[in-house]
């Protein structure tokens, strides 16, 4: 568990007056009670949305499920700290398919995640085309999530190059799992983000859950710390307990600050859990023996008196109601139509004699 200390802001403010500050672990990092409550609510909402989509995958309201139960703590902290906006003045997000807590933290309504699972035409991320958790949102620089792991590591240095040229402090975040680091594209990211004289601000996040589908990392990887691969390229980094929102918060803050000020890459290896297995293909059953970041955080918040049990229950109830309402709403919305099949293939082009607009079938 965390080596960090959680101090409610109100208590911290009164600490000098002799109030005994509750201590958790031995660290010297503090988050305000307000921030902790906000994070807790986001984590619960993300979990409830994921669990709702798991149910949908089993009830026939959706098909395949994949998502991020077990990564809520780290991913919510990430979403609250990125600079949200459109274009290179803001942060770019190359996320993986377990980042729903990040999207909720950015402000995505739960309804949009449910719409994608329900494959509705109203799904703003993929118009009912892609698996859940495969987000894309231009206004927030959330680049389309790819099922193919690690390919986005080749793209991150490109957006970061444009951000560095522009000036300002925009950062490109690229997230993958530990298994994906075996792909050559991970090495590409290390090399391209550290071209001498052309280093670029990429925050490389490795969400290390120690699994690649059914294969344990320890059976196929010899490296003890993935961030050590960055050392050969002069990329600083740290390993963080991704189940601890306070530790994650500050690790992300340090990483983003480095990228914003040094304009160079940084690597974060977040040790996270995978609480429902790889996906619905492996049953999406709750696993035992892995840390649940929400249960753990709630124990702390309760112990510190930041939340009382009824308040915790209320957060869960509110999230459940939100999910129910989202599902009810999504199921009333239209399915894609056969006419939608070709939509969004091409952008309008003044120099295309066949497809000046979108794709319309074979050349006629």
């Amino acid at each position: 568990m965390s080596s960090k200390t959680i101090v409610p802001a109100s208590l911290a403010a009164n600490g000098a007056a002799g109030v005994v500050l509750p201590q958790v672990g031995s660290g010297d990092e503090y988050l305000s009670a307000e921030r902790c409550v906000e994070l807790h609510r986001l984590m619960v909402r993300a979990r409830v949305m994921e669990e709702r989509t798991i149910k949908m995958s089993k009830s026939g309201e959706g098909y395949f499920w994949i998502g991020g139960p077990g990564e809520e703590a780290f991913n919510a902290c990430l979403g609250l700290q990125v600079h949200k906006g459109q274009g290179p003045a803001f942060d770019y997000l190359n996320l993986h398919y377990r980042n729903s807590a990040t999207l909720l933290a950015l402000g995505m309504p739960m309804l949009d995640g449910i719409r994608q699972m329900a494959m509705r035409a109203t799904d703003p991320h993929s118009r009912g085309r892609n698996f859940p958790g495969h987000y894309a949102k231009r206004e927030w620089n959330v680049l389309p999530v790819s099922s193919v792991i690690e390919v986005r590591h080749t793209m991150a240095p490109g957006t970061a190059l444009m951000q560095k040229r522009l000036g300002g402090d925009g950062v490109t975040v690229v997230t993958g799992g530990d298994a994906g680091t075996a792909e050559g594209d991970f090495a590409s990211c290390l090399i391209w983000s550290t071209i001498p004289g052309r280093e670029v601000p990429v925050l490389i996040v490795v969400a290390n859950n120690c699994w690649g589908i059914s294969t344990a990392a320890c059976n196929v990887h010899s490296e003890k710390r993935i961030i050590d691969r960055g050392r050969a390229h002069g990329i600083p980094g740290e390993v963080v307990d991704g189940n601890d929102p306070v530790a994650s918060w500050y690790a992300i803050e340090r990483a983003l600050t480095w990228c914003r000020t040094e304009r160079k890459p940084y690597m974060l290896e977040a040790k996270v859990s995978r609480l429902y297995g790889h996906s619905s293909s492996s049953g999406a059953l709750r696993v035992k023996g892995e840390v649940d970041c929400i249960e753990q955080f709630e124990k702390k918040l309760l112990a510190l008196g930041i939340l009382e049990p009824p308040q915790v229950a209320k957060v869960h109830e509110a999230a459940e109601l939100e999910a129910e309402a989202a599902l009810e709403q999504a199921l009333t919305e239209p399915q894609p139509s056969p006419e939608d099949v070709e939509m969004f293939t091409y952008a309008d082009s003044a120099v295309d004699a066949v497809y000046p607009g979108d794709y319309t079938g074979l050349p006629g």
Binding site: R129, G158, V351
Partner: protein, 352 residues
């Protein structure tokens, strides 16, 4: 007249100056070499990348996401096979992301045989590329077409792959690039980097003008009425040469269609010509199993089965693992002049 590769270079310069090109990059693309075929000499936005084709495509995508206009080079298409899934991702970003992001990238790469390139410098790529929905694929066979198609590739807001016929890169055009000087030597002195030390060299660019060739428009290289030949790239000038000879020898005349765009292809031009002649031969040098030419043949059969006077046919590269270095291999692997002429004669003269 400019060579095809000089035309590409001038188009890229025009793109830098007038069309917002921000980055021209790839292996050996920047100084001192300026590309193994010299396509990028003297360009102000050209830079050398790590030797990593997947990184090249991915970085181009990143630049494009963030508002740049990149032109990335894969040094030979033969090196591009390890990029195929990233090319697929580039083609699907707009569709998969419900229109959230456009993908305005240009990838240029030399394709085809004819430079005695052995196993890994002789591949063709157009059939692979044609299986990348979301992309547009062009393949100019003349200098002016290379200039005009590259300009269109740059301004098109979708991913466009420009396949450059390796064998034709040094071939001079028959038409001037708008703005190029009258004298070939003067052009060479202006824009070709000197051999040897070029550290102090800077190009003197001619006052180039816009010349856009629309993607999806074929060029009628020869007009005739006896039969239709559809080709592009290296075999195209061979088809033209054969058509000229057969006109003299047999009085047979051919529509020789330079497709120029693999996708979208100019079906209207193909269809109108087949309807006119009732005889069609499709020529390219990619390997013959699931060849792009077979798709065109399917369209011809679907639409014009009852309009055909004789069986439609293709002349393609052999389905073999590679092209051997000894010229006996190459000459007997991919269509050459004699075989093309023979096939054209056969389609033109078979009794209906």
């Amino acid at each position: 007249m400019a060579t095809l590769v000089q035309a590409v270079r001038m188009a890229l310069h025009y793109g830098e100056e007038h069309l917002g090109v921000t980055d021209i990059f790839g292996e050996d693309v920047g100084p001192p070499l300026g590309g193994v075929f010299t396509a990028t000499q003297g360009l102000k936005t050209a830079w050398n990348s790590p030797l990593d084709e997947r990184g090249i495509i991915g970085t181009a995508m990143g630049i494009a996401y963030a508002g740049g206009r990149p032109v990335a080079e894969i040094q030979f298409c033969d090196y591009g096979f390890n990029t195929i899934d990233i090319l697929k991702v580039a083609g699907n970003q707009r569709w998969a992301g419900a229109g959230n992001f456009d993908m305005p990238i240009v990838v240029m790469t030399p394709s085809g045989s004819g430079i005695r390139g052995s196993l890994y410098h002789s591949h063709s790529f157009e059939s692979w590329a044609s299986r990348l929905p979301g992309w547009k694929i062009v393949m100019p066979a003349t200098a002016l077409d290379a200039y005009g198609l590259m300009l269109s590739a740059i301004v098109d807001p979708n991913p466009v792959m420009v396949l450059l016929p390796k064998a034709l890169l040094r071939v001079r055009g028959e038409e001037k690039i708008p703005g190029e000087p009258e004298d070939d030597n003067e052009l060479k002195e202006m824009i070709d980097a000197p051999v040897g030390d070029r550290s102090n060299w800077t190009p003197r660019w001619p006052e180039l003008k816009a010349h856009f060739i629309k993607i999806g428009e074929a060029r009628l290289a020869r007009a005739g009425s006896t039969a239709t030949v559809v080709s592009y790239g290296r075999p195209l000038p061979l088809c033209v040469q054969a058509a000229d000879q057969l006109k003299q020898e047999l009085g047979a005349t051919f529509d020789v269609i330079d497709l120029r765009s693999i996708f979208p292809y100019d079906w209207k031009t193909i269809s109108a010509s087949v309807l006119k002649t009732g005889r069609v031969l499709i020529v390219n040098e990619d390997t013959e199993v699931t060849n792009f030419g077979e798709h065109l043949l399917r369209r011809v059969i679907d639409h014009h089965f009852y309009d055909l006077l004789v069986r439609p046919r293709v002349l393609l590269g052999k389905h073999i693992p590679g092209i051997g270095l000894n010229q006996v291999y190459e000459q007997n692997s991919v269509p050459q002049f004699a075989g093309i002429k023979e096939a054209m004669k056969a389609v033109a003269t078979e009794e209906a």
